[in-house]
Structure formats: C-alpha cells, structure tokens
Symmetry: C4
Subunit: 260 residues, 4 copies
C-alpha cells in the first residue's frame, strides 16, 4: 500500500523510490499496444474468453507485462500488470492473475531473444497436438516461422496422468520452455499452442498465422502427400515476412477500432 | 387469472396464496440469466431457431424454468414459463410449449445434481451421433466434462422405426435420462445433443464447448490416431474449468448486449 | 403501356380488363413474403449473387412469381415479375429475366402440389452432385424432407458434352422435373440443387437445411459408416418439422429486417 | 515536382507535357473501380492484409495500375500508382511498392489479352499448390474458367531451395507467366494463386470463385471419385458466366459501400 493512501506524509526515500519507479515504468505506448494485441487476437479468432498475450518490459528484461485474469477482448490499459520472471505480480491490487503466467515467465527466462508470447487454444492447432502421424510444419510463405517440425509438450511426461493440463507453476513453465527450445512455436498436447516472437506485433502475427497454417495443413493432408517449405525456405520466408508485419498489424488495429 | 383482473375484491385466501406464490417465485435474476443464456446460445451458434435451455427452479427443485415454444434468440423475461417435472406448464396462458420439454423434466427428476440443461442440434456433434466408429471424447482441456465416452440415445430401441425422433412424452424423456446416466452429455442419434451442468452458466459453457470438442475431434481423426484426455485428466480439467466459467459468461453476455 | 400514360382517355374495355386483372393480381402479402424469402436466402448463405426463389401465383396456378434477373439480396417488391408456366414474363417492362426460369415453370407444370421452389448453388450440396460413392440422404430430423436418396440430374444425358449446364429452355426444365419426380430435392451435377415445397416458407426452410444436411453428411462420412434416417423416419420428421417452420421464418425475417 | 509548386512560371514545354500526360491519364472510373476491387477482395476473404489486384492502363497497354504497398482493404484512389511493365512505378512519391509487382508486369507483357490480375493467398487454393495427387479443376458451372488442369509454379525449378518464394524480380515474373501459359489461373507452390481476366470485374469474380471451387473440390474429393466439368463444359460455362458478372460485382460493391 503506498504511503499516500495511509494518510502519512510521504518519506523522502519513498519519493526517491517513486521517481526511480517512474524511470522504470514501461513505455505507455507498449501498454497501449498490448491492449490492442489482446483485442486483435480476439477479433482474429485466435483467443476466445481464454488465452493470453504478454510482452517483455521494455526497460527491465526481468519483467513482463500481462493482463490480469480476464477475457482478452475486454482488456484495457488499467488491466495490464507487471510480473517478475517467477510469475509474481508486482502490484495486482488483489486482482486475480492468470494461472498460467508461468508460461510467460519461464520462456522469457530461458529465451533472452523472446520479446513477446501468445498462448492460445486456437482451434486448428489442437489436432496437431494430439496426433503423432503428422507434424505441424510450414506449408506456405506466410508461416515460414513454423519451420519444419514443431515440438509437442506432453505434460504427462512431467506429472503423469491426471493433471489439469495447465502450466500452473514454475517447474511446468520451465519444462514447456525446454520443449520449445530455440523454436518459435510449441504445441501443448490436449491444450493449445504457445508462440514466441522478437516483437509484440510479430507475436500477434504468428498467433494468427500458426492457426491458418494448421488449417491449411489439415486440408492438404486430406488431399495427399504435401510438399512443405524446406527449412531454408522457412527461414527465408520468415525473414522477409518479418519486414511486412506492420501492414497486417495496422489493418487489424483499425478493424478492432471500428475504422475498417 | 388473478382476482384483480376479474374486477372482484380480492378474497383473503387469494391474497395468502399470492403471498405464498410470491415466496416461491423464482429469483428474477435467475430468469434474467435464463434469457441471457438463450441469447448467448444463439450468438455462439449452439442453437438456431431450434433448441432450448432450462434451469431448475431455485426455490422448488420439483420445478424448472423454460421459455415458451419460440426461437431462443427472441426470448424475453415474459416468455419464461415454469414447469413441473411431468412437463406441465404452470401458467402458460395458452401459449404453445416445446414438444420436447420432457427432456428437461425427466433429467431433473433422475438427476438431483443437475441444475441446468441445454438441448441443441449443434452441427459438429451430429456426426458423432450417427456413427459407431468413433466416440465423442474429451480432446482438450476446455472440454474435460465430455469425459472418455459419450452415450448415444437410439430412439429406435424405444419405439422402433418410423418415429419423428422427438422426445415428445415422459417415457421417452425417462429413456433419454437413462442413457445419459451419471454423465454430463448424451448424444441423440439423428437429432442432437443434451448437456447437463450444476449451474446455468456452466450448461451454456458446456453447450458451446461440446460442439468445439466435436469439431476438433472430426479434424484430428482425419489426421491419425488421437491421444485423448484420460478419464482422470477429464475430471481434473473439468474441475478447474468450472472455476473459470464466469470469464466466458461475462464476455458472451457483453457480446449479446452489444457491449463487445 | 397503360392508357393513362399515353394521355388518352381510358376506353371501357381497358377499364374492364384492368378490373379483371386486379381480381387476378397476386396477394401483396405473397409478394412481400417473396421479397423476404430472397433476402433470407442470401442472409443464410443459401444464395450469393446467384440463385433464385419463386412461388406459384396464389390465384392462378398456371402462373408463378419470380424476381427479374438480379442478386436475390437486392430484390424489392417492384422487382417481382409474373410468369406463365412456359417461362414467359407477363409484364417485364423489358427488364432481363433469369435464364433458368424454366426450372420453375416446368416443375410447377409437372407437380401441382409444389407451391414454391428454391434453386441454389449452396456450397455443401455441390460435392453430392459430382460423386457416385455417396447419395445425399437425411442425416438428422431437421432435414427429413431430404429422404433416403436424392436424384442427380445429369445434363449430359440430355444434350451431351459441352453445354453450359444451365436449364435454359423448356425441354431442359421438363427433363429436370422428370429427374425430380415426386421428391422434394434434386441435385444438378456440377451446378447446384433445386428444392420444392408446399409453401414459400417451407421452401426457404428446405433451402437452408438441405445445405446443413449435406455439410453434416460430408463430416459424418469422414468418420465412418453412417446410420441415416430411415424412409419412415424421414417422413415422420418432415411432417412434424412442417408444423414448426414459422419459428425459423419469423426469426430469419427479423434478422434480415435488422431486428435481431 | 510540378512547376507551380516551385513558384516558377510554367514553361511552355512543361505545359505541353502536362497536357500530354492528361490525355494519357487513366480513366478516373477505372481507378475508382480498382479501389472497389481491392475492398471487395478483402470483404470476400480473397485477400487479408496481403495480396493485390491490378488492371492494365486503359490508354497505355504498356502500363498497369496497382496500389502502393498496403493492405487492400485500406486502399483509396490516392494510393493507386502507375507502373511500366518492368515494374517501375511512374510517380510513387517515394512510397513503398509491392515486392511482387513483377507478377503483374510480366503477365501483362506475355499476355496481351489479359486486362486484370488478382494475386492472393486465398486459403482453399493453397492445398492444391502443394500436392501432386489432385489438380485444381472446374467442379461447377460458376468456375468453368478454372478449366480441366491448373498449372503449378514451382519456384525451386528457377532458383533452387532456400528462396523466400516471392516473385521479386522480372525473371521470376516471366517464369510465372510461362507457367501460366494461355490459362486463366496459375497456382504457386507454398504461396498462393494468380488469376487473370479480360476485365477487372471478371478478375475479381475469378478471385472469389477459384477459392470456392477449391473448397468444393477439397470436400468432394473426400467423398469419392469426382465427375468434373469437361474442357468444353468449362469453356461453355465460362462464356455464359462472363455475361453475368455485373450481377455479382454490383452486389459486392453495395456490400463494401455499406448499402447491403
């Protein structure tokens, strides 16, 4: 509880701390973009009432920003909380936080290159998490980031049968991060997908297109043997698409703002 | 017909009866929620012009609340009727009632734990009611309530060939309740699905996600052998999701109210 | 051109003819309903810019009402024309008429019981018109009218290879009517479907649900051997659903009127 | 920079050049239609934030009109640029242009009959570009223009493994045009589709219906052996549909203008 709300005179040290805290506050534009990201992911059918998106703190790499526990479509700037990498909210004001915040903290810890993470139960990816006969792979140039083989996190290997399949502690978060390895995408058996990216905009893009890729794969596999992107085509297409993401972000943003 | 509408002085006994009736009237918030449930189920494509949702009376467990025969999307509070478990409307004012109200009455009778029921012809579940090669099963953590095997009610076993497939009397309602047994979901061959839950909000959630589960199963089966949730994973995920349902309900409610 | 618009005094004989014509004019409510039917079929994705719906004239069974050649979504009362069964418009004012009006005229001629016809290229039915491995059949009680086997009209049997697949004259209309026989539905290979009904509202209902039935069949066939409705279940369900169609029509009408 | 904006008296030669330029300016209605085409293709789910549509200049067959690099849904008349067939923008004012403008330039060069081109990543066509087991073929009369066999452009045959799959120079544009040959449609492996037409309206129509055709084929192939349109049926249906395209264009235009 801050001093001012207890009716006490603010001690000098607290003022200093506040000033320090201000200098460490995340860029308001980043918070605004995170709100937009939540709304885009709902509008693009990546999340429904469940799923979440985070971004690493722009000034403190040992912190990340994530909404309080709520439907992404309804998130506003006041709902964005700051967490440390252990998944502790810095100032939640008693508001509930996502059970699965450890997905974010442990991947940010394990992968310094990752700046944003989307976790969803996006429909088309679920089948690829529950079969062994086909791997989720890049099928077209819009989703080269999927690469040539997507790992599947099997929670039974960590906790055996009978879990609720949720990443509800640091150990499970770390195990998921290990499954992810250096990749952009990890499937979670019977649960969903977690997608990482070097920017918030790109994480949203990847959240959208990993689902499109899965849908296209489902359909192509029904037709016959699929000629997938090679590893190097995946890298080349991912590199060029990364330069085009603003085009999608700007349009999706206009759409959720009712301007399209 | 109430006394006041006949222009007669209200006799004491009637006043007493009215007071008694008032003390037994369902909570207006329950009626409001049932209206919302109808509209959500339409908005989420669980029902079209057909299908219905009921809730057990909050003060009289031998009664349930259900709209008069009409499209769910158009239901208002004035359309909610009270029924006894035999399927008799208490005060319908001559308005037509659903032919299949016996689905509700007989399940409430057989299953004291059930507080709400959704009956729909939700598209993705239909195929699972007409094949023997695959059972509807929980494929991801959002639909653990589906469990490891969903019973199929075959009306031909009750009335032979040539029926209209409707649960149009108490006997058929009881037979359906028997097929359901202690489960949350029962498929009806060539007809639809009936879903039960311990709360109205959860029945709506289950009505939505049983269809999502069926869609995901259809797609996964096309890919190969499916690694389903185990029985105990189904129980554990259903238990934790039950605590999260408000998040979906609140969002769906805002959507049908035009606030999202 | 009416006399009044030529500035001439109206001769007695013309007045008499006008009065006679008035007594034979279709019920304005029927025309209004036909406009609504056009808009519902678009809104429910049965037709896009192509496809049409007609109704038999309520006073002259040798006439039918059909819009001029235009997108169904845009039809207004002024666009409804009257045709004889040969497909001649009575007073088109030079406006283009549908090439395929012979579908309607010849079915009305061959089937005195038919009061309304929907012709569409509704997506899910197309696959059932181009394969021999599976017949379009009733899979659930909402579409019992589909029956146990749907005929396929193969235009090559009439005109050989190289046609434009359109029913562009009376002979082809009569051949299609012959394929239809006493059924409610006939598929047209590589083209679409034609659905008949004893009322306009029921034709719209059937136009919607024949497509739903096809979609569900496509999915069920992917799962395994399908337990279809029997012939007698088809008849029984069709009979009971015919009594419930107002519920769907009223809701669909409210939707296209922006009231839902 | 025009003379007037430099504050200098306009020299005679510049005036003459301006007049000449004016006489060669594209018809403003063509530019307006190209804006509408962009918006229709987005609204009909042919393009998302990516994909483009061009039309040949109406007065200079060695030029074509195409938006600057942006999401098609947001294109306005001010965004339409003029290009020569080498893919050089005439007056882009420094605004970025599409990397893949060479698709357009080289097809216009190779095919004098082509007046408009749509390039998209339309979902249903992608599977047909990555399998050899089934060719994209005309399955119903709305898409006779697809013909009996659609070529697939394999960029690996030009540049080997490791490309970004984009048509990013004249050589690749020419190779794509060669794959297209005299056809209306060419698939691009792991990328999308390019559709040509003799008018802008028809290119939009074909962009929409090539995707519908692919969707219907995917579903029909799941049912069994498909009875496709023959070559001559494809030609006959394409010829008659070409006369009906205004009906679709007008409706789609009203829809993007909010009038439907």
């Amino acid at each position: 509880m801050p001093a001012s709300s207890r009716g006490d005179p603010a001690p000098v040290s607290t003022v200093a701390t506040d000033a320090e805290a201000d200098s460490q506050a995340p860029d308001p534009r980043l918070i605004a973009d995170l709100v937009t990201a939540n709304r885009i992911l709902y509008d693009q059918h990546v999340v429904d009432a469940f799923g979440h998106v985070s971004t690493r703190h722009d000034k403190r790499p040992d912190r990340f920003l994530l909404a309080r526990s709520m439907a992404p479509a309804l998130v506003t700037e006041a709902d964005i909380l700051e967490f440390d990498l252990d998944g502790n909210p810095l100032d939640s004001g008693g508001r509930p936080v996502y059970l699965e915040r450890f997905i974010h903290g442990e991947i940010y810890r394990a992968r310094p290159d990752v700046v944003s993470i989307v976790h969803s139960h996006s429909h088309a990816v679920i089948p690829f998490g529950v079969v062994r006969s086909h791997k989720l792979r890049a099928i077209f140039h819009m989703s080269g980031f999927v690469g040539a083989e997507t790992p599947i996190f099997e929670i039974r290997e960590c906790v055996g049968d009978g879990s609720d399949l949720l990443i509800r502690n640091r150990e499970l978060g770390a195990a998921l991060a290990k499954s992810l390895g250096p990749k952009a995408v990890v499937l979670m058996r019977g649960h969903g997908v977690t997608v990482t990216a070097p920017t918030l905009q790109e994480a949203v893009y990847r959240g959208v297109y990993v689902d499109v890729n899965a849908r296209l794969q489902l359909e192509a596999i029904g037709l016959g043997a699929v000629n997938y992107l090679t590893e190097s085509e995946g890298r080349a297409t991912a590199a060029v698409q990364a330069t085009q993401i603003g085009r999608a972000w700007d349009m999706w943003k206009m759409k959720v703002e009712g301007k399209l």
